[in-house]
């Protein structure tokens, strides 16, 4: 077993990647030698992601194809989440109660700047692809 394959399986075992991602990575390893940066297994690129991209391709029966392309700076996300700290305590309690009622055990008061920075740093590894009915595709990633 090659080191790369073992690394992928370790990441899968540690639940850092999904089964589909592991499958893709192993397929890429089997295809032949690739640059280390392309596999994303060795070192993360030195440049941190700066933008959050949201691309939506939808086809409406009446309206035809609709494309939405949003590029928002991650700094905006950072500042936006900091707004949560401005929510008055009473309102925070109400929001937390409503979240719990809907099965989301999330406490707004636990959002700290240091957690936020860590979260945004890890967003660089995130890619979300959603394919819905009627050819609606949503892609969220950082660049």
């Amino acid at each position: 077993m090659t080191d790369n394959r073992r690394q992928v399986l370790d990441m899968l075992a540690a639940r850092q990647i999904t089964v589909e991602e592991a499958d893709r990575l192993i397929a890429a390893i089997e295809e032949g030698p690739m640059p280390a940066a392309a596999t994303g297994l060795v070192e993360r690129p030195a440049t941190a992601p700066r933008y959050l991209r949201v691309i939506i391709d939808a086809v409406d029966d009446d309206e035809g194809p609709i494309k939405v392309n949003v590029r928002a700076p991650l700094q905006l996300l950072r500042a936006g989440v900091r707004l949560a700290s401005l929510i008055p305590p009473q309102a925070q309690d109400e929001v937390n109660t409503a979240l719990r009622k809907h099965g989301v055990g999330f406490d707004l008061s636990q959002i700290k700047p240091e957690n936020l920075d860590e979260l945004i740093d890890h967003l660089g590894d995130l890619t979300v692809d959603v394919e819905g009915e009627r050819n609606t595709k949503v892609r969220v990633f950082c660049e």
Partner: protein, 89 residues
């Protein structure tokens, strides 16, 4: 630094790919015009912050950061009939 300009590009018809109407928006003029009103609204803002037990200076700082972070935001929507692009500089 807060965004000083923005561009809105509107294409009324998708088929006319070259006919895009570029509308520059000098945001610095908007800020200058809004400044007196913002100064007038400041006491109300401080009272509202005190009432909701929020640090007004912290709130102002976060709002300022939010405004600054708007730079380089780009939103584009394309439709069969029209398309629009908003780019903040």
């Amino acid at each position: 630094m807060i965004p000083l300009a923005a561009v809105i590009a509107v294409r009324p018809d998708r088929r006319s790919s070259d006919r895009r109407l570029w509308i520059p928006v000098p945001l610095f003029l908007v800020w200058l015009l809004a400044l007196p009103f913002l100064v007038l609204a400041l006491p109300i803002f401080f009272i509202a912050c005190q009432a909701s037990r929020v640090d007004p200076f912290r709130a102002l700082w976060i709002l300022w950061q939010l405004l600054c972070a708007l730079r380089t935001t780009r939103v584009s929507v394309e439709h069969r009939e029209a398309s629009i692009l908003v780019h903040i500089f």
